[in-house]
């Protein structure tokens, strides 16, 4: 791109938004060239922070005219490099679009702009609608609701209600050609209360921002139980984890079930811990649920000495405070997430631990039950020291090996980066792949949307 052309695009962006929320200066280009994980940086040519759907529409139309890539950015916390401008272009920081537009208490949904953060919604609901809650992921509080939904995230109500992308009632999207479309009941001009029973579109989840920019969405809300807390349970045999998850899910009494194991602290190394979130509206209900889970369901492990109950803590930390990035006092971590059959937990743990140890990284593995035992999100986390290139390279290598492991174990890589996308793509059924290509070409004929992702279909 020539200097004149770049000046023209810059000025056009200023005309669309304003001069304070458009930049082509080295400082903004530098900051927005990075993901927080191990991915190599790539700078955009422009950064823009719009406030309205109409501004996004105009930016996308400009990009089409000028054949310039567009990269939408939410909280920027996928850690998989999904919003790195691999081919430059216009990076759209969507976080200024942060209005909570509606909360419907009776039909239990919230309509949000795409920049609303997890913590913002949690805080808003607790102050204005304390009887309602949403399925909040374990991501930092700046993670956006829309970003998490679009990558098929999971939250602390995943056990009863599944993926966060299963909990969407409607979307407003700026298509890659600039039209604004709505999906779900809102497309009929009525309220945003359901995504069914209209024809399934399914064009925007999991596409890594290559098929459009979600500007508004409606998500389901759920009863916020008056008492919430978590119990902890531990076994030393990883082979027991799938059956234990199966037994707990059978009770249908848990809001969230997470199994994890990690090398630090050393006294916990090799043990398989469970946190089981329980919600109740009364002490009686809580007591009943506790008795059912810990005594009736897991009592056999406790009495036989293979498992231990570590107690129940009242209150959930929402949003969660994570210190994972500072494990190595190095400011960095990245993980490979996967959607796995639950029965794969033991092998996921063993093989992941081997990879970590091979790269001299204390191992951390986590499995969150999604649905009533239908699958789990299993993650292998690799901390690194941002000031040490060798440490970053070790983590990067471990991540790639883990992507390969996911495929070997019969899982599906969750929110894959470009390496993961390639190995998923290469295994895709050819007809599926061809259909995806046709969809992508139809939606984005100029190929401007987040190029470098889901390429070569």
């Amino acid at each position: 791109m020539g200097d004149d052309e770049m000046k023209t695009i810059y000025q056009a962006l200023v005309d669309i938004v304003d001069s304070e929320h458009v930049s082509n200066r080295p400082e903004e280009l530098y900051i927005y060239s990075f993901d927080l994980g191990t991915a190599e940086p790539h700078p955009p040519n422009y950064v823009v922070a719009p406030r309205t759907t109409q501004q996004i529409q105009e930016i996308v139309r400009l990009a089409n005219r000028e054949k310039v890539p567009v990269v939408p950015l939410g909280g920027g916390l996928s850690l998989a490099g999904l919003a790195i401008p691999l081919k430059g272009g216009i990076l759209i920081d969507l976080k200024r679009m942060d209005s909570i537009l509606e909360v419907n208490e009776k039909s239990r949904y919230a309509v949000l702009e795409c920049g609303v953060s997890q913590a913002q919604l949690t805080s808003y609901l607790s102050r204005h609608h304390p009887d309602l809650t949403h399925s909040e992921p374990g991501a930092p509080p700046t993670a956006t609701i829309a970003g998490n939904v679009l990558i098929h995230g999971q939250g602390d109500l995943a056990q009863p209600y599944g993926f966060n992308s299963d909990q969407v009632n409607g979307l407003e999207i700026v298509l890659p050609t600039g039209e604004v479309c709505r999906f779900g009941s809102c497309a009929l001009g009525v309220s945003w209360f359901t995504n069914h029973p209209l024809p399934d579109i399914g064009l925007f989840f999991g596409w890594c921002g290559t098929t459009g920019i979600v500007t508004k969405l409606s998500i389901r809300l759920y009863p916020a139980r008056k008492i919430r807390g978590f119990g902890q349970f531990v076994v030393d045999d990883e082979n027991l984890v799938p059956e234990i998850i199966g037994k707990i899910t059978r009770t249908q009494m848990a809001e969230d079930i997470i199994a994890y194991s990690r090398a630090i602290p050393p006294f916990g190394m090799g043990l398989q811990h469970f946190t089981v979130n329980i919600g109740a509206d009364s002490e009686k209900e809580l007591e009943f649920k506790q008795e059912l889970i810990w005594d009736d369901t897991l009592g056999e492990y406790i009495t036989s000495g293979v498992g231990g109950y570590l107690g129940f803590t009242r209150g959930l930390e929402r949003p969660q405070i994570s210190k994972t990035s500072d494990y190595k006092k190095g400011g960095g971590f990245e993980y490979v997430g996967s959607i796995m059959p639950i029965e794969k937990y033991p092998e996921c743990y063993r093989r992941g631990r081997e990879i970590s140890e091979r790269h001299h990284i204390p191992y951390t593995v986590t499995g969150r039950c999604v649905g009533v035992g239908h699958s789990m999100m299993f993650a292998w986390t690799y901390a690194f020291n941002r000031a040490d290139p060798r440490s970053i390279q070790h983590s990067r290598d471990a991540l790639h090996e883990t992507d390969d492991l996911v495929m070997e174990l019969g899982g599906v890589i969750w929110k894959p980066g470009t390496y993961g996308q390639r190995i998923v793509r290469d295994r895709l059924d050819p007809n599926t792949r061809a259909l995806m290509r046709r969809i992508k070409d139809a939606l984005d004929p100029a190929g401007i949307m987040n190029p470098g992702n889901w390429e070569g279909l």
Partner: protein, 393 residues
């Protein structure tokens, strides 16, 4: 590389940019970091500042006026340090101060910062006003020059020169006189306390100011100081001891509370208004004093104290800290922290926004005008509220 000698070279990379630092304790929004609230670009977030600092010191980015403005737009409100859950959080602000120090050592600062520091060096105040006019605010009052009284009333640059803030200074002098305490001021002999100079990274000039003030205080036998400004309170209480200046330092709200509790001030005339209180950063987050102003306000009859949602260690900074009340890198927009803050105050339904800092006073009063809230909410220093309750105004 510059990073090799940078004080925090072993720490600065530890910021993950998770963004906790943008929030208040209530997680209401991401607007509790003043520069981020103003510009809403990641470069202006706390993490952005640290990553850009590291990039500049590692020679991955050239110095520019823009990177300097990004660093100098931080008001040092310490919201980031309160919210960051990681163990290096105690040095986040120091990392920015040290980076500013690196820029100053190379003579690379924004023109407004240079002017601010130059004015303090030459005139003893950031406004460039004459030293010989510093004591003019007290003309026509009964306030005496300090000789050997019990307390030094340290007024500070803003309380001395700013027309609006000087009303607070005179009112406070009136209250001290009414309470019969023994106090005096330095008038034209007063010098800048240097708090902002320290936060702007000009360590050499700060040292000169601190030593000059300490020498003057010691030569006059000063042992007890009461300050109008939380900024001066911070400098004298927390920074001067490093240079041997050890005094009993009180912020004026602590002093007024003491005087009311001792029965030396009679507030029985009361103050009939709904009032919300804005915590100043250098009293609250920097020195942990959240309650004295509130206890004081609660002692005033008919005053109904209402809290803003963001209060105490979650209070949104007015945007004036670290010299920004004059350098003004955050003004000029309805996203400016002061304008956000007065909207938050007005949302409480309060008719009065009480402040305890002359810089907050002028920042927020200007914001009330910009937001056209003049008929809705009035900004008053707590000294003015107490004086009214004593029947002195």
């Amino acid at each position: 590389m510059l990073i090799d000698t940078y004080t925090f070279r072993d720490t600065i990379h530890r910021c993950f940019r998770c963004g906790y630092c943008k929030f208040p304790a209530t997680w209401t929004d991401v607007n509790n970091c003043p520069p981020y609230a103003r510009f809403r670009m990641e470069s202006y977030s706390c993490g952005g500042r640290l990553w850009l600092t590291r990039a500049w010191l590692s020679e991955k980015l050239d110095w520019s006026e823009h990177i300097a403005e990004i660093l100098y737009s931080c008001t040092m409100c310490r919201n980031c340090e309160i919210k960051c859950p990681l163990s290096f959080n105690i040095n986040i602000v120091n990392m920015v101060v040290a980076a500013r120090g690196e820029m100053i050592e190379r003579g690379k600062v924004p023109p407004a910062v240079k002017r601010f520091l130059e004015n303090i060096h030459v005139h003893g105040n950031p406004y460039g006003n004459a030293r010989s006019k510093r004591g003019a605010w007290a003309e026509g009052t009964a306030i005496e020059q300090y000789k050997d009284q019990e307390y030094l009333f340290y007024v500070g640059c803003t309380g001395s020169y700013d027309t609006r803030a000087s009303i607070s200074s005179r009112t406070l002098g009136l209250l001290f006189g009414e309470a019969g305490i023994s106090f005096g001021v330095l008038g034209n002999d007063e010098n800048c306390d240097g708090n902002e100079v320290d936060k702007l990274g000009e360590a050499g000039l700060f040292e000169m100011l601190a030593e000059d003030n300490i020498e003057r205080f010691n030569s006059l036998g000063i042992e007890k100081i009461v300050t109008l400004s939380p900024h001066a309170y911070n400098a004298m209480r927390d920074l001067y001891p490093r240079y041997g200046g050890k005094y009993m330092v009180l912020h004026y709200t602590q002093m007024l509370l003491k005087l009311i509790e001792e029965g030396k001030l009679d507030v029985s005339k009361g103050f009939d208004a709904q009032v919300t209180f804005h915590d100043p950063c250098f009293l609250g987050r920097w020195n942990g004093e959240y309650e004295a102003p509130r206890r004081l306000l609660r002692k005033v009859p008919h005053l109904r104290l209402t809290e803003m949602e963001k209060n105490r260690d979650s209070a949104l900074c007015c945007g004036g800290g670290a010299g920004n009340f004059e350098i003004d890198l955050l003004g000029g927009s309805d996203s400016s922290p002061a304008r956000r803050r007065v909207r938050e105050a007005a949302e409480t339904g309060a008719g009065v926004l009480a402040v305890a800092c002359p810089k907050c006073l002028i920042m927020l009063e200007d914001a009330v005008k910009a937001e056209e809230l003049e008929g809705t909410i009035a900004v008053k220093n707590i000294s003015e509220i107490v004086a009214a309750a004593c029947g002195l105004l």
